[in-house]
């Protein structure tokens, strides 16, 4: 049961966001600019699907069920990963997953950020640059990973609830996110 009274039937982060719209607005703005808008900047080489994959990986490292499932579903939607096998492979061992060397290097950085910012080394940054990452990609990777260390803690720290074993529920919500972005109001 959540630690504060949240409206029933609203899963994961949507409950506390409904409770606190004043903080939900900048949090949704941050998610939209980082995961969506910036993918289309000329100096970015990271697609929306790749950004969602970083968010999913960090959420799985934090063992946050709601975030890794919904962002995994959004990543799969973008990347044509209908059976979620790619997302599963990245969560299980991204070094062996069918993603680019650049993505592997950026996921290493994201994994370091998840442990703590000082775990990111100059060698990890250099490896990502060698694999084609721009400064913009490096910035966005660090901030996506950091932001999900917030979103995940918000979801789990308040003991929110989320439906389990209902992939179609997350597929449907993912399609809504892909079409409309992250919004302060819950579509239900």
């Amino acid at each position: 049961m959540p630690h504060i009274p949240l409206p029933p039937g609203i899963p994961g982060i949507r409950g506390p966001m409904n409770y606190s719209p004043e903080t939900a607005r900048p949090m949704n703005d941050l998610a939209n600019v980082l995961l969506r808008t910036n993918a289309h900047h000329p100096d970015s080489t990271l697609s929306e699907g790749e950004r969602e994959l970083i968010a999913t990986y960090v959420s799985s490292q934090n063992d946050c069920y709601f975030c890794q499932t919904i962002h995994g579903a959004v990543a799969s939607h973008h990347l044509g990963d209908e059976d979620w096998s790619l997302v599963s492979a990245v969560k299980c061992d991204y070094r062996q997953a069918p993603v680019s060397e650049k993505m592997k290097a950026l996921l290493t950085i994201a994994g370091s950020v998840q442990k703590g910012g000082k775990h990111v080394t100059a060698q990890q940054i250099d490896a990502a640059r060698l694999a084609g990452a721009t400064d913009r990609d490096l910035h966005d990777t660090v901030l996506i990973a950091a932001a999900f260390c917030m979103f995940n803690r918000y979801v789990d720290g308040l003991a929110t609830t989320a439906p389990v074993d209902v992939p179609d529920f997350y597929r449907m919500r993912a399609a809504g996110v892909v079409a409309n972005g992250y919004a302060a109001s819950d579509p239900g």
């Binding site: 504060i4 606190s20 903080t23 950020v113 400064d135 950091a146 260390c149 803690r153």
Partner: protein, 184 residues
């Protein structure tokens, strides 16, 4: 030296939001909403909010955030400013209310592993007088500083070592709040 070319010599998070105002804007708006406004039924003062932020940043070993938010808390506490260093040294022996003490326990759990915020941990805060808004705001302040700290350290931004630099920052944060810096 920072891991990426930031094209400015500002310290800590200021260097990052000057480099990228697109993400800086929601990051500062979140700080302002959490550290200055808060939930409608929350009893937490601005000084207490800054102190929770400084405490979490200390646990994460991010000196820039710890020292700047501690300076803001000292400024806002005024004559009670010694409480800040007492909490940073050991919250259990600090002369703060039972309520703030219980909220700092929640903040520590969120920082270390948010899944460990148990019914007992939340219940202890409630028994000490914390409202729903206090619990919500404490969880999100702690969670958001787990983000800000990682952002600042993950890109290896500049951390000033002169205490006077933080005192000036604390006064600015205590008076103006969180306003996106303008490029020079």
């Amino acid at each position: 030296m920072a891991h990426i070319q930031l094209n400015n010599d500002a310290p800590g998070i200021r260097s990052l939001v000057l480099y990228r105002p697109d993400t800086g804007k929601p990051l500062y708006e979140l700080a302002q909403a959490l550290l200055r406004a808060g939930s409608p039924d929350s009893t937490l003062t601005d000084a207490e909010r800054e102190l929770i932020a400084a405490y979490v940043s200390g646990l994460n070993c991010t000196s820039f955030c710890r020292n700047s938010h501690a300076a803001a808390a000292r400024y806002l506490y005024g004559q009670e400013r010694d409480l800040v260093d007492q909490v940073l040294a050991d919250p259990e022996t600090a002369a703060v209310s039972g309520k703030l003490n219980a909220l700092l326990v929640i903040a520590r759990h969120v920082t270390e592993d948010a899944r460990t915020v148990s019914e007992a941990v939340a219940g202890a805060a409630r028994a000490a007088g914390a409202t729903d808004g206090d619990i919500h705001d404490t969880v999100l302040i702690a969670a958001s500083f787990c983000m800000y700290n990682r952002y600042v350290d993950g890109l290896a931004t500049l951390t000033p070592t002169d205490p006077a630099a933080y005192e000036a920052m604390g006064e600015r944060m205590g008076t103006l709040g969180y306003v996106l810096p303008k490029p020079h």
